[in-house]
C-alpha cells in the first residue's frame, strides 16, 4: 500500500510539473525523468515480479504506459534524455555477461554450443530471407523493387529481422540469477548471433550501397576487422587493466566499475568500435584471468548496476513506438509470426544437429525472440542512409521491436523457470537483480 502511494505521488508530481512547466523546461528534464524512472519503474518492476513476469518487463511496461505513446507523463523530450544512460547500460550488461563466462567451465560444451548456435543462426537467416523475398511486394516497403534491388533490400531487412537482443537476454539471466547448461547455451547463442549480425550487416550494407550506387570509398574488410577484432582487443586490454587495479588497489569497486563502463562506452563510440563486444571481452578477461577479481567485481556491480539498468529499460519502454505498430498493423504481426516460426524451426534443427533431444533445449527458441537496442541502432543507420524505403523499414522494425521487446523477456524467463535454472547463480546476486523474495527466487 505504501509503495502504491509512493508510486502515485511520484507520478502525480511528474504529471503536474509536465502540465505547468514552461516550454524551455524540456531542456532541463533529464534529472526529473531519471528520478521518476528510478522510483516508479523499480516499483512497477516489483509488481511484475509478483505476478511472475521479469522485472525487466515491469520496467519496460512502466516506460510504455507513462511514455509519450500513452500517458505522456514521461514526455518525448524526457524519453530522449533518459537514453543518456544507454551506452553505460549496454556496456555494463555485456560486462556482466563476460563475468559469467568461465571458459574452463564451458570448454567441454563448446562443440555442442557452436553446433546448435551455428545451425540455428544460419537457418534463421535463410528462412527469414526466403520469407522476406517472397513476401516483398506485400510488405509496403518498396513494391517496385525487382531483381538485384529486391535481393539487396531483402537481404538487408533479413539481417535486421533475424537479429536477437543480447542485452535483454543477459539482463533476464542476471535478474533471475539463472545458471546452468540451458542458460549458458542460450547466452552463447545470442552473443554468437550478435557477432554474426555485425559481420552480416556490414557485408550486406556494402552490397546494398553498391547496388543502389551509394558506395563510399570504405575498405569493407578493414572496417569489419576493426569493429570485431579491434573491439575484442580493446576490451581485453581494458579488462586486463581492471584486473590489475582490482588485484593491487581494489578500492571503491562499485564506482570504479561504473567509471570503467563509461570509459569503454566512450572510447568505443569515439573509435567506432562495438561497445557490447568490448565490454564482453573485458568481462571475459577479468573472469578467466583473475577469477578472484571477478568475484570482487560482481559484488561491486551489484551495488552500482541496478539504478542504471532500471533507467535503461524504462527509457526503452518509453521509446517503444506503438504508432509504428498501428501504422503497419497486420504486416508487422505477420513478419513477427514468420520470424518466430523461423526461429522455432531453426532452433529445433540446430538441436538435432548437435544430437540433443532433451526437453530443456527444446525451449531454446524462447530465448531468441527479444529484439532491442542493437537492432534499433542498425535500423537507424539504414533509415539515415536510405531515406524513402529505408524509412519504411525503420517503421516496420520499430513495430517489431515493440512487439518482441514485450514478448521476448516473458518467454525467456518462462523458459529459464521451466529449465529449473532460476536462482541458481552461486554467491551474491549480481548486477541487475535486487534481492529476491523467497517466492521470486523459486519461480
Amino acid at each position: 500500500m505504501a509503495r502504491a502511494a509512493a508510486l502515485l505521488v511520484a507520478l502525480v508530481l511528474a504529471w503536474l510539473l509536465g502540465q505547468t512547466a514552461a516550454p524551455e523546461a524540456a531542456f532541463r528534464s533529464t534529472a526529473l525523468a531519471i528520478g521518476v524512472a528510478l522510483v516508479a519503474a523499480a516499483l512497477v518492476g516489483r509488481i511484475a515480479e509478483r505476478i511472475g513476469l521479469p522485472r525487466v518487463t515491469g520496467y519496460l511496461v512502466f516506460g510504455l504506459l507513462c511514455g509519450p505513446s500513452i500517458a505522456n507523463i514521461i514526455t518525448r523530450p524526457m524519453a530522449r534524455e533518459l537514453q543518456i544512460v544507454n551506452g553505460l547500460a549496454v556496456t555494463l550488461i555485456a560486462f556482466v555477461a563476460g563475468l559469467e563466462m568461465n571458459l574452463r567451465r564451458l570448454a567441454p560444451r563448446l562443440t555442442v554450443i557452436a553446433r546448435v548456435g551455428g545451425v540455428t543462426i544460419l537457418l534463421t537467416y535463410l528462412m527469414i530471407f526466403v520469407a522476406v523475398w517472397t513476401a516483398w511486394p506485400w510488405l509496403r516497403i518498396a513494391p517496385g523493387f525487382t531483381g538485384i534491388h529486391r535481393l539487396a533490400a531483402s537481404a538487408l531487412l533479413t539481417a535486421l529481422v533475424a537479429s536477437f537482443s543480447p542485452t535483454v537476454s543477459i539482463a533476464i539471466v542476471a535478474e533471475a540469477r539463472a545458471a546452468g547448461p540451458f542458460t549458458e547455451l542460450t547466452l552463447a547463442i545470442v552473443i554468437l548471433a550478435d557477432l554474426v549480425l555485425i559481420l552480416a550487416f556490414t557485408l550486406i550494407m556494402q552490397f546494398v550501397r553498391v547496388t543502389f550506387g551509394t558506395a563510399a570509398h570504405v575498405s569493407l574488410f578493414a572496417g569489419v576487422t576493426w569493429e570485431i577484432f579491434g573491439s575484442f582487443a580493446f576490451g581485453a586490454l581494458a579488462g586486463g587493466v581492471l584486473a590489475l587495479y582490482l588485484a593491487h588497489i581494489g578500492r571503491e569497486v562499485a564506482i570504479v566499475v561504473l567509471g570503467f563502463c563509461v570509459v569503454i562506452a566512450g572510447v568505443a563510440e569515439h573509435f567506432q568500435l562495438e561497445p557490447l563486444m568490448a565490454a564482453l571481452a573485458a568481462g571475459l578477461v577479468v573472469e578467466n584471468l583473475a577469477p578472484s577479481a571477478g568475484d570482487v567485481v560482481k559484488e561491486g556491480v551489484e551495488r552500482s548496476a541496478l539504478p542504471v539498468l532500471v533507467v535503461f529499460f524504462a527509457a526503452a519502454g518509453a521509446s517503444l513506438q506503438l504508432d509504428a505498430l498501428a501504422t503497419l498493423g497486420w504486416i508487422a504481426l505477420g513478419v513477427a509470426a514468420a520470424r518466430t516460426g523461423a526461429i522455432w524451426i531453426s532452433a529445433r534443427l540446430g538441436r538435432a544437429a548437435a544430437g540433443l533431444s532433451d526437453e530443456v533445449t527444446a525451449m531454446t527458441w524462447m530465448a531468441l525472440v527479444s529484439q532491442a537496442g542493437v537492432t534499433l541502432g542498425l535500423t537507424l543507420i539504414v533509415a539515415a542512409e536510405f531515406p524513402g524505403w529505408g524509412t519504411t523499414i525503420e517503421t516496420l522494425m520499430l513495430a517489431l521491436i515493440a512487439l518482441h521487446q514485450l514478448i521476448g523477456p516473458v518467454l525467456y524467463r518462462a523458459a529459464l523457470a521451466r529449465a529449473g535454472e532460476i536462482g541458481r547463480q552461486a554467491g551474491t546476486p549480481t548486477a541487475l537483480m535486487m534481492p529476491q523474495s523467497p517466492s521470486g527466487a523459486a519461480r
Binding site: 509503495r3 532541463r28 523499480a42 537483480m433
Partner: protein, 360 residues
C-alpha cells in the same frame, strides 16, 4: 598549520581529502578554456547531475536543522545573524556598485546582486580548524546552519527572473518547498520498506534525482527543495532520516567534487567576473567579521571576535548557490560562478592564514 591539516565539517561536506581550491583548479584545467576534456557539450550534459547534487546538498542542510545542542535556539539565531550580515552587506554593495558603474547585465540586477550576497553568506565550517577554538562544536554548527538563510534568499531572488510572466517571489520559495515535501513523502513511504541494499540505493537515488530534477524542471531552487525534504525527514516519525543519511555518506564526496569541478570548468576570466570577485572578497570579509562579532554575543561559549575569522572559508555552498543561479540565468550566472570560484581560492588561503587564536 598546513593547507591540508583540516577536518570535515559537521555535515561532512568536505570534498574528500584535499581543499575545494584544488578541485576548482583541476576543474579549470579540465574545462573548455584549457584542456577541453570537460567541453561545453560535456558540461551541458552534466547539468542534470549538478541539479541532483544541488538537491542533495540541500538535503544535508535540512537534515542538519535539528536541535542537537542545548543552545540550539541561540545557535540558530547566531547563524542567521552572522550570515544575514554577510548577505546584506554583499548584496547591497553589489547592487550599488553594479548600478553606479552601469555594468551591462543580461539578467535583472537584483537577481545578480542578491545571489552574490547569498553565496557570500555561506561558510565552510572551519575547513582549516585545528580544533583549538573555544566552543568549536558550536561554531561548526553555526557554519552548518548559516547556509539556510543564503539558500532561502537565493531561492527568493529567483523570483526576479521571470517577473514578466508573473512568477511571484512567493512561488519561487513555495514551489521548491512543496516539491521537497512531496519527494520527502515518497522517501518516507519507500526507504524503510526496501528488501535490500541495492533496492534502497535505487529509491534513494531516485528520490534525490526527483528533488533536483523536479526543481530544475520547474525553474526553482533545488537547494531549497533539498532543505525542505531533509527537514521533512528529520521531523516525521520513522527512520527515513537515518536511512538517507547512511546512503548519502556513500556518495557525498563524489557529488561535492562534481559541483566544485564543474564550477572550476565554468570559470571565465572576463571583466564582469573580476568585478564581482572584487566585491565578493572585500564585502564578504567585512560582512563575516561584523556578523561573526555580532553572532558571538548570542552564544556565550564562543570565542568572541574569532568566530568571523573561523567562518571565513565559503566552502562548497557558495559555489552551489552560484551554480544554481547559472541554471536559471546562464550568462550572468557564469560570471557569478567565476567570481565565487576565484573568491573561494582567496578565502581558502586567507582562512589558512587567519587561524582563530588559541584561547589562553
Amino acid at each position: 598549520m598546513t593547507l591540508f591539516a583540516r577536518r570535515s565539517a559537521a555535515l561532512g561536506l568536505s570534498p574528500a581529502i584535499v581543499p575545494v581550491s584544488t578541485w576548482l583548479v583541476l576543474g579549470f584545467a579540465l574545462g573548455p578554456r584549457v584542456l577541453d576534456v570537460l567541453s561545453s557539450d560535456a558540461l551541458a550534459h552534466l547539468d542534470a547531475a549538478v541539479s541532483v547534487a544541488l538537491g542533495t546538498l540541500g538535503v544535508f542542510v535540512g537534515l542538519a536543522l535539528v536541535p542537537r545542542a542545548r543552545n540550539a535556539v541561540p545557535i540558530l539565531g547566531a547563524a542567521l545573524v552572522e550570515s544575514g550580515f554577510a548577505v546584506a552587506i554583499v548584496s547591497a554593495a553589489a547592487a550599488f556598485l553594479l548600478a553606479a558603474r552601469h555594468v551591462p547585465l543580461t539578467s535583472p540586477l537584483p537577481l545578480i546582486a542578491i545571489s552574490l550576497g547569498a553565496a557570500a553568506g555561506a561558510s565552510g565550517a572551519g575547513a582549516f580548524s585545528q580544533g583549538n577554538l573555544l566552543g568549536e562544536d558550536h561554531a561548526m554548527h553555526i557554519a552548518d546552519l548559516d547556509d539556510v538563510l543564503p539558500i532561502a534568499v537565493a531561492a527568493l531572488a529567483a523570483g526576479f527572473v521571470d517577473q514578466q510572466s508573473g512568477v511571484s517571489w512567493i512561488a519561487a520559495v513555495a514551489e521548491p518547498i512543496a516539491i521537497g515535501a512531496a519527494c520527502g513523502t515518497i522517501g518516507l513511504l519507500l526507504f524503510e520498506r526496501t528488501t535490500g541494499e541495492a533496492e534502497r540505493a535505487v529509491f534513494v537515488l531516485g528520490v534525490l534525482a526527483l528533488i533536483g530534477g523536479a526543481c530544475a524542471f520547474a525553474g526553482v531552487s533545488p537547494l531549497l527543495g533539498g532543505v525542505s525534504a531533509g527537514l521533512f525527514w528529520r521531523n516525521v516519525p520513522g527512520r527515513a532520516d537515518t536511512v538517507i543519511l547512511d546512503d548519502l555518506r556513500k556518495f557525498q564526496h563524489p557529488l561535492v567534487v562534481l559541483l566544485v569541478v564543474v564550477a572550476g570548468a565554468q570559470t571565465i576570466l572576463d571583466p564582469l567576473p573580476l568585478f564581482l570577485f572584487a566585491i565578493f572578497v572585500v564585502f564578504r570579509l567585512t560582512g563575516k567579521v561584523i556578523g561573526g562579532a555580532a553572532a558571538a554575543r548570542m552564544v556565550p561559549t564562543l570565542a568572541g571576535e574569532a568566530l568571523g575569522a573561523y567562518l571565513v572559508s565559503p566552502g562548497v555552498m557558495g559555489i552551489a548557490i552560484a551554480l544554481n543561479l547559472q541554471q536559471i540565468a546562464p550568462s550572468d550566472g557564469r560570471a557569478v560562478v567565476s567570481a565565487i570560484a576565484f573568491g573561494t581560492l582567496v578565502f581558502e588561503v586567507v582562512s589558512a592564514l587567519v587561524v582563530p587564536a588559541e584561547p589562553a
